[in-house]
């Protein structure tokens, strides 16, 4: 079936629009009564527009895009995981270590040789850290490398 992507998107957006519009009706009337536009007026309009848009997508979808499969999809998921882990480890491990790992892994997965990748990571991490902490006076977390 063609246009599968758009149909799924349309369905998702339809659910979102209905939930969004419904939630807007649940808010208590603001103190002193609504005049002209209440907090729910604008969201209600938006929900209507999105309902129409999502129905249109489902009825007249565009041809499907080429979606990544297997290996490429795995690489994409890996990249996202790296980014999340990067955010997770930034404070406990400190900026330099976490950045070396994150930038290194990403470059390596994008095709660089592992050694070059991690050296790039380390150099860029140190440069940015020094620049930020000493040049610009913005503190990035030192983490494990903290000097007491």
């Amino acid at each position: 079936m063609t246009g599968f992507g758009d149909r799924i998107l349309g369905l998702g957006l339809l659910v979102l629009a209905v939930a969004y519009g419904w939630a807007a009706q649940q808010w208590p009337e603001p103190f002193g009564g609504a005049e002209g536009v209440g907090p729910e007026t604008f969201p209600t309009i938006l929900a209507f527009v999105l309902v129409i848009g999502s129905l249109y997508l489902m009825v007249k979808p565009d041809p499907d895009a080429q979606w990544p499969v297997r290996k490429t999809a795995l690489e994409l998921v890996t990249s996202v995981v790296v980014l999340i882990v990067y955010a997770l480890l930034m404070e406990p491990l400190g900026f330099i270590i976490s950045t070396t790992l994150a930038v290194g892994t990403l470059s390596w997965r994008m095709g660089a040789r592992p050694r070059m990748a991690f050296i790039t990571g380390l150099i860029s991490a140190v440069v940015v850290f020094v620049l930020f902490n000493y040049g610009l006076d913005l503190s990035l977390p030192a983490g494990l490398l903290e000097v007491e």
Partner: protein
């Protein structure tokens, strides 16, 4: 002559050593951003916003920095067009047509030099146009009431899909999603909590800076991972400069025509720099006809699109500065900076924040001179950077985005949010939902709601006020046209653009 006085004050702001330094830095970084693969102007400016913000730059300096980056990116885009036949950014597409053949004939250095001059001419003409047109438009915009503003915002969304946009419904959907995201948080007029789900971090709403950086920078990384083009490009030899003064002079009419046309295309909502360079190139071909050797490395075929896209980039600042309604992705990102600096964009900015507006305009003039001076001697350096493989570059860019977002609030919560926006951006781009209307929705959503509220209060709750004045009706009509026209004209224009690309004797 009032304008001249303001402009002089603007120069006084822009010429302080501190601001000059940032303009120079911005011009340099901008050129880099323009020529590096995978870093468009909107993307590049977006990454720099959090940095400008955390550095605590004064508003005029921050704006000068980003405007210089913006202008620089337009210069940089041409380098890879000429040397590699790969446009650095979309507006530089037309430069490939004659730039690459010139490079193949061993005149790469000449093509780079003349295109720098043409960029300068286009930028200069565009900025002069901006100086003349902006105050007039700002004065006119003062007559706008809330109903007119509401219609104007709709017009901005409708035309943003632009002539090259494919499916107008997807533009509508994108804009709606953007506005929806902007409604999260505490409602400013009533204090009602909307869509916060009791999460403290959501009370103040979703910071559009992290949305922008996530949508652009992170999704770009994912696209590169997917397309597996991490490897670098070959080193290119630029050769010697053989451009004669006579040849330079002979292109002056082309530069003027290109700059003026580009500026007009830039001011029009939704047209933007790509169209500017396209129109300039096509017109030049018409005017010179058989006298030129277009597509085979005619020097004027390089000059026209470059003058056009730089003229257009200045032109695109007109609606952004005077109405607070940007006409392109990059100007939308500039608007984000203005809003986060607590400056209300729009006609009042010309009176309330005159130093910023005119400082930016003066900086644009100075920046163009700097860019010309930077681009001719340093072109070899930029060319070297072209061969930096994206597999090193993109992870570093991503890291800079992380640093920028982290240093705003020192919270990792924001980082997760940014990654989430990046993943969403990837899927949306895959599904051909344009990202720029989402950004614009995020930025303009609150203003739109506010104006709707004001209009209805003025009319005592009668919705007919929204189309109550002839000006508002006019805006509605243009908005409608903007949405429908691309459906009709778009395929035609795209075909012609593609045909023009194919006509060029060399492909890849």
């Amino acid at each position: 002559m009032e304008t001249l006085g303001f402009l002089m004050e603007g120069f006084a702001v822009a010429l302080t050593p501190y601001n000059l330094m940032f303009a120079l830095f911005g011009a340099f970084v901008g050129t880099l951003i323009g020529c590096l693969p995978g870093l468009g102007p909107a993307n590049g400016v977006a990454i720099l916003i959090p940095l400008a913000f955390t550095l605590g730059l004064p508003p005029e300096t921050a704006m000068i920095l980003l405007t210089a980056v913006y202008a620089g990116a337009m210069y940089g885009g041409r380098i890879s067009s000429i040397l590699l036949n790969i446009p650095g950014d979309e507006p530089a597409m037309m430069t490939c047509l004659d730039g690459y053949p010139m490079a193949q004939k061993g005149r790469a250095a000449d093509a780079l030099a003349i295109s720098a001059v043409a960029s300068f001419a286009g930028g200069l003409i565009g900025t002069i146009g901006l100086i003349m047109l902006a105050p007039i438009l700002a004065k006119f915009a003062l007559t706008f009431g809330p109903a007119e503003y509401f219609a104007l915002f709709l017009l901005a969304f409708a035309t943003l899909g632009g002539i090259t946009g494919k499916n107008p419904m997807k533009t509508v959907i994108a804009a709606t999603i953007g506005i929806m995201i902007s409604t999260v948080g505490i409602d400013i007029s009533t204090g009602t909590q909307r869509y916060t789900f009791g999460v403290l971090e959501l009370y103040e709403g979703i910071d559009f800076i992290l949305a922008i950086v996530g949508l652009f920078a992170i999704s770009e990384l994912l696209f590169f991972v997917e397309s597996r083009v991490g490897g670098g490009r070959e080193k290119i030899n630029v050769g010697k400069l053989t451009l004669s003064f006579k040849e330079l002079v002979s292109t002056i009419p082309t530069q003027l025509r290109g700059g003026v046309l580009g500026f007009i295309a830039g001011v029009l909502p939704g047209a933007g720099a790509s169209l500017g360079s396209f129109i300039s190139y096509t017109l030049e071909k018409q005017v010179l006809g058989k006298k030129g050797k277009f597509g085979e490395g005619d020097i004027r075929g390089v000059v026209a699109p470059e003058a056009g896209n730089n003229g257009a980039s200045s032109g695109a600042l007109v609606p952004m500065l005077t109405l607070g309604v940007p006409g392109s992705g990059t100007t939308a990102v500039l608007l984000a900076m203005l809003i986060s600096l607590n400056i209300t964009p729009g006609p009042l900015m010309f009176t309330q924040n005159a130093d910023i507006v005119w400082g930016v305009i003066a900086a644009l003039l100075i920046g163009n001179v700097m860019l010309l001076l930077l681009n001719i001697p340093l072109v070899g350096f930029f060319v070297k950077l072209l061969s930096v493989p994206p597999m090193y570059l993109l992870p570093i860019v991503t890291m800079v985005a992380f640093v920028g977002i982290y240093s705003i609030s020192h919270s990792t919560f924001d980082l997760y949010f940014m990654v989430a926006f990046g993943v969403a951006g990837y899927f949306l781009r895959k599904l051909e939902i344009p990202l720029v209307p989402i950004i614009l929705g995020l930025l303009l959503g609150p203003e739109m709601e506010k104006n709707l509220g004001h209009a209805l209060i003025l009319s005592d709750g009668s919705w007919s006020i929204l189309w109550g004045s002839s000006l508002a009706v006019g805006l509605w009509v243009v908005a409608g046209l903007g949405l429908v026209l691309p459906y009709v004209v778009g395929p035609l224009l795209r075909r012609r653009m593609n045909a023009a690309m194919k006509e060029s004797p060399v492909s890849d």
